[in-house]
Symmetry: C2
């Protein structure tokens, strides 16, 4: 596993930020085992735990894979060994221990509490999601790398279409282009039951079908066991086809949506798409460090309302109550651009903005791009044709 | 959402089995919200909860999607409303409540405990995994349907190969055949950090690389953020290529592995493959209702040992300590064919048997099929050529 100097520095900076946060909050340590958090802190995913004390060297307690070395690597067979190992190395167990309490199963948490016996258990999920919100220079490079390959795949999308296809046929072709361009396949999400496969394609009225998940739009999906996205709709004249496939070309996910058309559409479709582009443009003019995320939500909703399109903004039967979200190791990181969001933009945040409209009888129109918050504004990092593209 | 009479009966039988188990254990009710459990019990995946009292009608508390109806469907905005609704319907809150304590995050469990205020919290994960182990006739039909499409894809695998490919190129072609044959893409696993995408292909020495996950074999994967399976190995003369791609053509997963060869291999590769087939054959002769799962593990290990192949059975540097596992809504259900397994085979169980060997310098040889436990033996439900197949 070869790592660049820049990645090594990122891991070291990240651990330092965690330790500073632990010291500020008065917590003695933090124990991580969720895939994205392990990767964030150690650059690896493994079966085991990473214990980070507020001061001193972290310990990687590894159950599997076998064969690793390094002074911070300690092999264990079961988590109970962690306490005795820390004890033998004269590392005190923390009085307050942060654990991934929004991610780790209840019984797994109880077991770890029984090992570390902290007087107080704090929330490492909240801390890590807060830190992961601000990307390091290396993380921003990874996002730019994903974005470039995401762009490449999107430029190839028109070649994936052939008349007579269903939305699933079309998706299958796009998936192959993704994989050939280096997509890792995995598409990590935060939260329960966010079962999605490589993204979503919504054609015609399937765009308005509510889904159980907290994504911007829904779709019936392939069945009750996979209730989101493409449902086998035959692609035909007069339809909009919205493509929102994952930018999973590194561990860091970019997010991008483009709208495709089959033949001539009613005027409302073009107008709604134009409003989405205008919302994006206005956001680009407005957003800068210090901008409240809730203001960006209100800006979008206000513009949709002014155009008389509130009823179909972010869905019809079920409307998403956000217009954007942080991206990174998971597709739904902080901040959220939602009415009650208390976050303000900060340099190093990376978020997706996705103003979308669902036009009954036609499909979904709109745009989504990934943006980096810079020192004095925001920078679009995904680039593909933004107008509605005709499929032929 | 159209359901057959047979599926409707399955859901009703399943709920009855849960209620009988609740009554026997003295628990007052069980609260489910994990995707596979909701699907198992209600036939749907949604954002919300299903409360099943030991006696009386279950309640589906739905947050999203909007638009459902039915006498058991109750819409809520937040889980706290469940208690007041049950109270208003004169349904008593249970003294002992089973919750998905091996799956639900710690904080989510605390929140639900604070709503239901049970005196005792029991383990619904364990109960559901125990019930899900024995499939209903409808579930067996779904598994057979997955198996038929799994067979179809596997018959097409030789057409996916072209000289000069890497393992990832080959996998990408197979993935497209899977999707065209109806694969749902999703590949559900039980447990933490089991991040796998559509299965795994192992070529040459990558077959022996340990992975963090609890699958039979490993592989380096595409990077530290996706550490399992294909790693970009160039497929070449003298290599074994093991294909273990998901049978995810319905909500129910079948599991199947086949071994492919490039040119002439050393004799040990053919012999190891033959031993795998012999282990399978001997297992088919031995296994019947009442057979201890641990005996089947010992049978396999004993045969490998007798052939002098213990050192490369189920891996080399890291050896899996099981030769089979239950399959169903997740790829790793109960029972497990492992040395300390306390389960015995019962009619209606469905499991994968996967005796495999890793030959240094060559790759992995072996076989995997899915089996149904019948009244008097086991029946193989996946069917594809079992000999080593030459890729040309």
């Amino acid at each position: 596993m070869v790592r660049t100097e820049k990645e090594i520095k990122t891991r070291s900076d990240i651990r330092q930020r965690i330790q500073e946060a632990l010291q500020q909050s008065g917590a003695g340590g933090c124990l991580l085992s969720v895939d994205v958090n392990l990767y964030y802190v150690t650059g690896r995913i493994y079966n085991g735990y990473c214990y980070i004390p507020a001061k001193g060297e972290p310990r990687c307690f590894v159950i599997r894979p076998q064969g690793w070395s390094g002074e911070q690597v300690v092999y264990i067979r079961k988590p109970e060994q962690m306490a005795e190992i820390l004890h033998s190395q004269s590392i005190p167990l923390p009085d307050t221990l942060l654990m991934e309490t929004d991610e780790l199963p209840y019984n797994a948490c109880l077991r770890l509490q029984n090992i570390y016996k902290p007087r107080v258990t704090g929330n490492a999920t909240a801390l890590l999601r807060s830190l992961r919100m601000i990307k390091t220079p290396w993380e921003i490079e990874q996002l730019r790398l994903s974005a470039r390959l995401h762009d490449k795949t999107y430029a190839e999308i028109p070649t994936c279409y052939r008349p007579g296809m269903t939305d699933l046929d079309f998706q299958c072709e796009i998936e192959q282009h993704m994989r050939r361009n280096g997509s890792i396949g995995l598409f990590r999400t935060f939260g329960a039951n966010m079962d999605i496969f490589q993204g979503s394609i919504l054609a015609g009225d399937n765009a308005g079908v509510p889904s159980p998940f907290d994504f911007a739009l829904g779709g019936e999906g392939m069945g009750a066991f996979a209730p989101i996205g493409a449902n086998g709709t035959l692609l035909k004249e007069g339809m909009l086809v919205m493509v929102d496939m994952a930018g999973n070309y590194t561990a860091y996910l970019t997010d991008m949506t483009r709208t495709f058309a089959l033949g001539k559409l009613p005027e409302i479709a073009y107008r709604a798409h134009r409003v989405s582009l205008n919302i994006q443009e206005e956001t680009e003019h407005t957003a800068r460090p210090g901008t409240p995320c809730a203001d960006l939500y209100r800006l979008a909703v206000g513009m949709a309302e002014k155009e008389g399109l509130s009823h179909c903004f972010m869905g019809t039967k079920q409307q998403a109550k956000f217009v954007g979200h942080g991206i990174g190791l998971q597709i739904n990181e902080r901040p959220v651009l939602a009415p009650r969001s208390e976050e303000t933009l900060q340099p190093g945040m990376v978020f997706a903005l996705e103003p979308k409209f669902v036009i009954p009888g036609v499909g979904a129109a709109g745009i989504e791009n990934s943006f980096l918050v810079t020192e004095n504004g925001i920078e679009k990092i995904t680039h593909a044709e933004e107008e509605i593209i005709n499929l032929k």
